[in-house]
Symmetry: C2
């Protein structure tokens, strides 16, 4: 399999069969690590960064991870490919857009990505569909151990793992889930969620992570503290205090809407379908927003002619990078809006035949 | 034929075969008249108003107009019926909503309406589809002459016909056309039209006349001066100075859109269709707004599956009064929005089979 082949498939983290996938789209955990013997990145020269990139690559290839892994040097691929990797949530915007020697090692099933020379020397990320943080943690711990057997991570007995940014010191862990919360949004309860999150020191963010706006009623919930607790404690607490209650609220809000506001719900769902079926120009944001209602409609069994697989396909391939890849050429904003609308109409039509 | 039967048909003034109907929906002319021997309405008692109502009725029944005319006493019909007559533009909002003895004599083909005890003793109105003001003026003059042979109109050799409001003194004529100007709206040129109209002493108003907002890109153009010119002069000038140039601008704007903004045009047209085909709740305003785009789409040959007849049917029967009549019960706003959406989906579906 070639790296280029994955661009033609929907990211496995969108698999609609993940646990609790009626609300939880995806789970992810990342560990921030720095390697003893190498200068921290804020001080490192390009030569030192390059040396580190080669070092990590070599060491990983000495482990059992070598099977089914791609090494992707950011300087070897096009801006469009970097954009697609960002859209697939395999690399960060920062890794895609900054300069200098940097890369990512990707498991071919897109369940694991190890970025080198992002903010820290190494960022290990594991992801899956639905709510499966415990399983992910077991996975990423094994990877962490494998790597630690080949290199020494900067670690202080007092503080734990040392990281470029003090907010990551300690466990270096970030645990996050992407939640689909259209009913909380529709009933105006998101403010309540944001307030509760603040009190719990939990971050609620948009679809593309830090600093991004929520799009299509997708919200990312993640831990903010990494210090003074074990990894298992952080995960358990995040699930119990934040994720489970929010899932519960969302499901209760959906039930209430079904009971009390069915025409308003159907109106939103079917208008979304009507616009997607007919628009000739459509932005990426509007697409996500409308697909969000279709997704809700499918989960609430208000719409039966469209499958989650179709929605996920549309969700994925209407992103600017993937859309240009599909069209095999660079497109400006208006051309993208037109190509996106054409693609959506075609896919929806095909999915019903 | 019964009065109640007309509520089930589309108003003939919406006939899509009228001259220049790609832009001009309807033409209308009204004459304001007061009758010598009766107190002006601002001073008249209910008894006097009643006497006038009977007098006018009797006199009209002595003329050839008696054939095919209905006499409708406003106090004898329900508020819903009054609302429907307003929606059919056969009576004014004022006649529908005020109290006291008042009525209208209606030609059964809806081409002529004579309101008694509105602002003036008598308001004679003639209407037709498309642009046919000269023909209408010939018609209404004949009616005016017929009435004048049976009663004396208040007339001053110096000022002309005397009316309740000084703006109508003189000829007492108001000439108006309802224009569909979506391309001027889309290209942001309506301000230019409003400015030109002000310079020409021509009024530009919304769909329901004085004080109403433009809905669905429908604008009413009418003369503002009634004094110091002949009726023919007023009509000729309004056509030459205002109506023809605006039609010309609109057609030019449509051509420009076809040449330069086809995807944006198709996007608006097809989104409108998508929403109408799918909404479960829809307001009267949004309906008109969306039908306006469908109408444009048909005239510009961008849409071939929908006929003007269907659009006109939807336009007519989605108005609040007609909608409740169709549903045979009083409906609150939310119920109307739901019934309207259901009706539109049903009609669009039926029209394509």
């Amino acid at each position: 399999m070639q790296l280029s082949e994955i661009y033609n498939q929907v990211g496995p983290w969108l698999d609609p069969k993940g646990p609790r996938s009626e609300v939880v789209i995806t789970s992810r955990i990342r560990l921030a690590r720095n390697i003893v013997g190498f200068t921290f990145l804020s001080q490192a020269s390009a030569a030192q960064q390059n040396e580190l990139l080669q070092f990590v690559h070599e060491k990983i290839m000495e482990t059992e991870l070598r099977d089914g892994i791609w090494f992707v040097n950011m300087e070897d691929i096009s801006p469009l490919e970097r954009q697609m990797l960002t859209e697939r949530h395999l690399i960060s915007k920062q890794l895609a857009e900054e300069e200098g020697p940097r890369g990512v090692m990707l498991m071919q099933d897109e369940s694991l990505a190890m970025m080198v020379n992002e903010e820290d020397h190494l960022r290990i990320q594991a992801m899956s569909s639905g709510l499966q943080l415990q399983r992910l943690y077991e996975r990423i711990s094994r990877v962490d151990d494998l790597l630690e057997s080949r290199m020494e991570f900067a670690f202080s007995p007092q503080y734990g793992y040392l990281t470029a940014c003090p907010t990551n010191v300690g466990t270096g862990i970030r645990v996050s889930v992407m939640l689909h919360l259209p009913a909380l949004k529709m009933t105006g309860q998101m403010e309540k969620v944001f307030r509760a999150a603040r009190d719990l020191h939990v971050a609620v963010r948009g679809f593309y992570g830090e600093g991004s706006e929520p799009i299509g009623d997708l919200f990312q919930i993640s831990n903010q503290t990494t210090l003074g607790k074990t990894e298992e404690g952080i995960i358990e607490e995040l699930i119990r205090q934040a994720i489970e209650p929010v899932i519960e609220y969302e499901l209760r809000a959906r039930k209430k809407i079904l009971e009390e506001r069915l025409p308003a719900l159907d109106d939103k769902i079917y208008r979304a379908l009507g616009v997607l079926d007919n628009a000739r120009l459509i932005s990426s944001e509007e697409t996500m927003y409308l697909l969000s209602y279709l997704r809700l409609g499918v989960h609430m069994e208000r719409i039966k002619t469209i499958s989650l697989e179709t929605i996920n396909r549309l969700f994925f391939f209407t992103q600017p990078g993937h859309l240009q890849h599909l069209n095999r050429k660079k497109l400006d904003t208006q051309q993208r809006d037109q190509a996106r609308a054409d693609f959506i109409r075609r896919e929806l039509h095909a999915s019903r035949n």
